[in-house]
């Protein structure tokens, strides 16, 4: 995209699309179920009845919540809009596809951060962490955007039916959780498992949260941030490409 396109209407478009998404989609049942209840039940299923050091487990839990919540809105917005017939109207406004995608990403990112801050507050009250607030905030911001852009990129391949999109996004999202070092710590992973975990953006998020809450990390911080940044760019690029390719499907 040429630099001259990053002008006032571009940012105004992102802000309006974000506002629309927040107003319309945050309270939709699939977003609540897949974004909030799913990670909660997953955590309970894993945690209850087992002897787990919650102090060690919490950064992973925080990353899992951020991942599920931030990536829950994105896959659904475009299918919902296409189904309701509002997508054509949206495209007729003075906005580009990139603007719409970034607006969708921003909506997911804000949703992820909002809920994650509540989860974090509970953790900070109940657990005695030595907080590195700057790294935590920067990491949460970048991680939320990365997960949200993954969600938006998942909307594209089957854009006409929201339930198909949820199925498809679950196929992608769940393996990313299991290879991320949330349930099995990174230091306990060896061979293929260890190699695979580097392909999950959640791994880097868990590492940033571990560093900013417990002061411990397995990967250099600069690598964590760089990886999340590269993942974000890749997901936005993929979303842009596939949205453009599937633009007319379902209109």
């Amino acid at each position: 995209m040429p630099l001259r396109n990053f002008n006032r209407p571009f940012f105004r478009g992102i802000a309006v699309v974000t506002e629309k998404n927040i107003r319309l989609y945050y309270t939709k049942p699939p977003v609540i179920i897949f974004g909030f209840l799913f990670p909660l039940f997953m955590f309970l299923a894993f945690y209850l009845g087992k002897e787990i050091d919650f102090y060690v487990f919490f950064p992973g839990l925080l990353a899992m919540f951020l991942f599920f919540i931030a990536s829950s809105v994105g896959p659904l917005i475009t299918p919902w809009e296409k189904q309701a017939g509002t997508y054509e109207r949206l495209l007729s406004f003075p906005v580009s596809i990139t603007t719409i995608i970034l607006g969708d990403c921003a909506a997911g990112m804000i949703f992820g951060i909002m809920i994650n801050v509540v989860v974090l507050a509970v953790g900070l009250i109940t657990l005695n962490y030595c907080l590195n607030i700057m790294i935590l905030c920067l990491g949460m911001l970048l991680g939320a955007f990365c997960f949200s852009s993954l969600g938006v990129s998942l909307a594209s391949p089957s854009v006409q039916n929201p339930s198909y999109v949820m199925m498809f996004s679950s196929i992608i999202r769940f393996p990313l959780i299991f290879i991320s070092g949330i349930f099995i710590p990174l230091e306990d992973l060896h061979g293929l498992g260890r190699m695979l975990c580097y392909f999950s953006p959640i791994t880097y998020m868990v590492d940033i949260f571990n560093f900013s809450l417990r002061g411990q990390s397995n990967i250099a911080l600069i690598v964590d941030f760089a990886a999340l940044f590269v993942f974000s760019l890749t997901f936005v690029y993929l979303a842009n490409r596939t949205h453009k390719r599937n633009l007319m499907r379902g209109l």
């Binding site: 478009g13 319309l24 054509e88 109207r89 580009s96 007319m248």
Partner: protein, 312 residues
Amino acid sequence: MKNESIKVIEVRELTKRFGDVTAVNHISFAVTKREIFGFLGPNGAGKTTTIRMLTGLITPDSGDVLIDGVDIMKNPIKAKMKIGVIPEMGNIYVDLTAKQNIILAGKFYGIARGELGNKADAILAKFGLLERADDPVKTFSKGMKQQVNIASAIVHSPELLFLDEPTAGLDVQSQRMIKTIIREMNQRGTTIFLTTHNIEEANVLCDRVGIINNGEIAAIDTPEGLKRTFEETQSVEISFDKPVDLSEIEESRLVIRKEKLGDKWRLYTDNPDKLVKYLAQFAQDHNLIFTTMEICGASLEDAFVKLTEDKY
């Protein structure tokens, strides 16, 4: 035609293919300022593809579209700022209120927040919807939804308005209201580009009509101009106060063919004057009273059917 020199839409050699199918094939036309231009065509003729290219939704394979001199492919945002688009029914956010829909649309065009509320109220008042301004659109009738749809598209006072089948599926009252809105907007200076299946709508609303068939422009003219082109056969529409056997009239050889239209007959002739005189004598001889007697020229529908008849 109005303001002939100022072209608000200029289409040059526009082409779009989907795989092996050429949906739009090298079409060229222009729409002038303050004109109501009707775009007609049978299903699958290329109407929607054309309007989507004109509004920047899809990119043509070749050709140019200039909106008030701005190339919509090269500068889509600038071109889109000049237009309002009303796609087919159901294109507003039904979970939002009427006012929220208009305000949302206004924000995309950069209208200041303070100004937007008043502007939305003014538009809703004009459409008679001010009392329902804060009701969710999902509680509205189809006609009211379409009014909100139009209201959202004109919040930024566009120079050019695209309407895709604006009265499709609406009741008669709503259709009339939408047509009145379109006329009023045109009188205030907005150029209108309208696609419709409703030939009569195009006939009464449009200054000019373009007919597309198989992706190509079959004709562009005023509705009357198109009718004149196909006026070699006229017809006389009649009905009497009681049922009647028309075989005697047919034998007169004045009637080329006859067609039953409800309780009326349409008699096609190349000499309507002679036929009318004959019918008057026929009624007198058989002690009949005319309940309808009308000489009809070729209709826009006749012209449309002839221009697109390979499709039917």
